[in-house]
């Protein structure tokens, strides 16, 4: 699993009088200036400012991360830009507004995976061309990203997105059950397209039923 912990927020808890502190110290004004209208930054700032019981060690951890970010300013800004873009694209292009329609869910998930795969590929390329980070926060993040994301993962993720676009059809296995029911359906990875020779050998080993062109709605209903 990918480890992402640049601020050590996991263990910290929000202070009990958070809202009073926010108002009395006019933190909203500081956050508004610091974030320059960026909602993601504003939210993160406010969360960190209102945390209680932060240890000295955690503060040093963050200070090191900040120093590292200043030393690799361009890289960190680019990382932030990639993550901002991906969230923006998801908001614009993927609509998870219906969870009761499997066809819509599959289509939107497929589109979401494509967007993430593009972003991860860009991120990994960027990090590979960046000199090593010195802080523990960034080093751990790099290590976790390189351990989990590589070309093979990105290619597999794209393959999954492609399968669910249904351009190459959909493969599944079924068994025969009671009253002619088809039971235990399992979605299968599509087979590689065979050579001409293998196609010749497969004659008679495949049963094909062709639908009437006017019968597409029946097929659509069956697949969902």
């Amino acid at each position: 699993m990918i480890q992402l912990d640049l601020l050590r927020l996991v263990k910290a808890t929000r202070i009990s009088i958070a809202e009073d502190v926010r108002t009395d110290l006019e933190l909203d004004k500081i956050v508004a200036i610091a974030s320059n209208g960026d909602k993601l930054i504003a939210e993160t700032w406010m969360n960190v400012l209102l945390l209680g019981e932060t240890s000295e060690e955690d503060v040093r951890y963050r200070q090191d991360a900040v120093k590292d970010a200043l030393a690799h300013r361009e890289t960190v800004l680019k990382m932030y830009s990639i993550s901002g873009d991906v969230l923006d694209r998801l908001r614009r292009e993927v609509f998870f507004f219906r969870t009761d329609d499997p066809a819509v869910v599959v289509h939107e998930a497929s589109r979401g995976i494509e967007i993430f795969a593009d972003a991860l590929e860009e991120l990994i390329t960027l990090l590979r061309s960046t000199p090593r980070f010195s802080s523990k926060a960034f080093s751990d993040l790099m290590e976790s990203l390189f351990a989990n994301i590589d070309e093979k993962f990105i290619s597999s993720a794209r393959e999954v997105a492609k399968i669910f676009s249904f351009d190459q059809g959909i493969d599944f296995s079924v068994k025969l059950g009671k009253y002619n029911s088809l039971i235990d359906p399992i979605l299968l990875m599509p087979k590689e397209k065979g050579s001409l020779l293998s196609k010749i050998f497969s004659v008679g080993k495949e049963y094909t039923y062709k639908l009437d062109p006017r019968d597409r709605p029946a097929l659509k209903s069956y697949m969902t």
Partner: protein
């Protein structure tokens, strides 16, 4: 037999085998008292231990196992459905789960609500089955051979029993619905001395809506003709119909709506209730009544039950009484049983009559209690009481008119 029918035939056989064995097991584990069920248990035993049943069971399970081996790979692409015998294949869902496990956090998971829309088998489903049977010839032949060797599955005796049992089961359900309202049922006992002793019998139709009033009827068998007189709307007709229904149900051998029931086994139950007068008919209603009475008298005997309601009521009270006397006298001679609902109180004075009366409620003389009790007919009828309440009696009217 089509491919799809072959599999359905097998399922029918499997269901039948399981149902018969489980019924036999359950029936064997309970203490059975009735001759009918004892005979059926013995019959079931002979079927289950028969060579035919054993062989059918063995072959059905063999066919089931063969069917379970049928597994195909299907690809739906464009307007084509392709089917192969399943060899191997990587489970896509497991692959995806493993691939994206690295992103799995402890966040909220929203479940996709999937409303299955399976209905009747579609032609696409049939096409997959067609392909499947084509690849599994050996298994298909086992299914086909089973259907050929056992074309008829259900034993005729079992089939008949199921129909008959259905009658009892539906009657028990009917009983339960009424018992839930607090009304009892009892298995009737048949008397041989001519006596009747039925306690707390009621109309099951009124009981269903919780409005039945239970009544009793009793005779030692010496007197067998009952007259039911009394106030209008006091439950006389309901009483006679309820007793008729109880007598009819007792002849079917089922529990009857009463708390206690001892009565003769009536060989016939005959009725004569009022009919609408048809202006185009040659016979008047009185003539109809006479013809019906005559037909009843022709077939009545000492085990007949006759129930009449307002017979001979379309003539004068005196003529009505004379006709009733003739009719009931003949029935009495034949020792038949009769419930005679009438407005002519004089009929109740005949020597061989048991007089029952629809009683008013203790809360007021104009309100019915729906209780029918032994007693003399009332001196005045409810119609007279109602008329009196509104000053519509002869003396008052005469006084008013001067």
């Amino acid at each position: 037999m089509s491919n799809t029918s072959l599999a359905l035939h097998l399922d029918a056989a499997l269901e039948y085998i399981e149902a018969l064995e489980s019924f036999h097991e359950k029936l064997s584990s309970v203490k059975i008292g009735s001759e009918g069920l004892k005979h059926f248990l013995a019959y079931l035993n002979s079927i289950i231990e028969s060579e035919t049943f054993r062989s059918m069971k063995e072959r059905a399970y063999e066919a089931k196992a063969a069917r379970e081996k049928i597994k195909v790979r299907v690809k739906i692409i464009g307007d084509k459905i392709k089917v192969w015998s399943y060899d191997d294949g990587e489970d896509l869902a497991s692959f995806i789960e493993a691939l994206f496990a690295r992103f799995k956090g402890s966040g909220q998971v929203e479940e996709v609500k999937y409303h299955r829309t399976a209905g009747e088998m579609s032609h696409i489903h049939a096409a997959i089955l067609e392909g499947a049977f084509g690849f599994f010839k050996e298994e298909y032949n086992i299914l086909r051979k089973f259907s050929e060797d056992f074309p008829s599955i259900i034993d005729e005796g079992v089939r008949n029993f199921s129909k008959e049992a259905e009658f009892y089961i539906s009657y028990v359900k009917f009983m339960r619905r009424i018992e839930e309202k607090g009304y009892p049922f009892v298995i009737p006992r048949f008397t041989t001395d001519g006596s009747i002793k039925v306690k707390g019998f009621y109309s099951p139709l009124l009981a269903k809506i919780g409005k039945a009033i239970p009544n009793d009827i009793e005779t030692d068998g010496e007197k067998r003709i009952f007259t039911i007189t009394g106030m209008n709307g006091g439950g006389k007709t309901t009483f006679s119909i309820s007793f008729g229904q109880l007598s009819y149900l007792s002849k079917l051998g089922v529990p009857v709506p009463a708390s206690e029931a001892m009565l003769p086994f009536f060989s016939s139950i005959m009725t004569a209730f009022p009919i609408e007068e048809d202006k185009g008919e040659e016979l008047s209603r009185l003539e109809h009544d006479v013809v019906r009475a005559w037909n009843i008298l022709k077939s009545a005997n000492d085990s007949s039950l006759v129930i009449t309601n307002e017979l001979f009521s379309t003539t004068t009270s005196e003529e009505g009484f004379q006709l009733a006397e003739l009719f009931l006298g003949e029935l009495n001679k034949k020792r038949a049983y009769c419930l005679y609902v009438t407005f002519i109180p004089k009929v109740a004075s005949l020597s061989y009559i048991i007089s029952l009366v629809a009683m008013p409620s203790p809360e007021g003389p104009l309100r019915p209690s729906y209780k029918i009790l032994p007693g003399s007919p009332p001196a005045e009828y409810m119609a007279i009481r109602i008329a009196a309440k509104y000053q519509l009696v002869y003396e008052k009217l005469k006084g008013m008119l001067g």
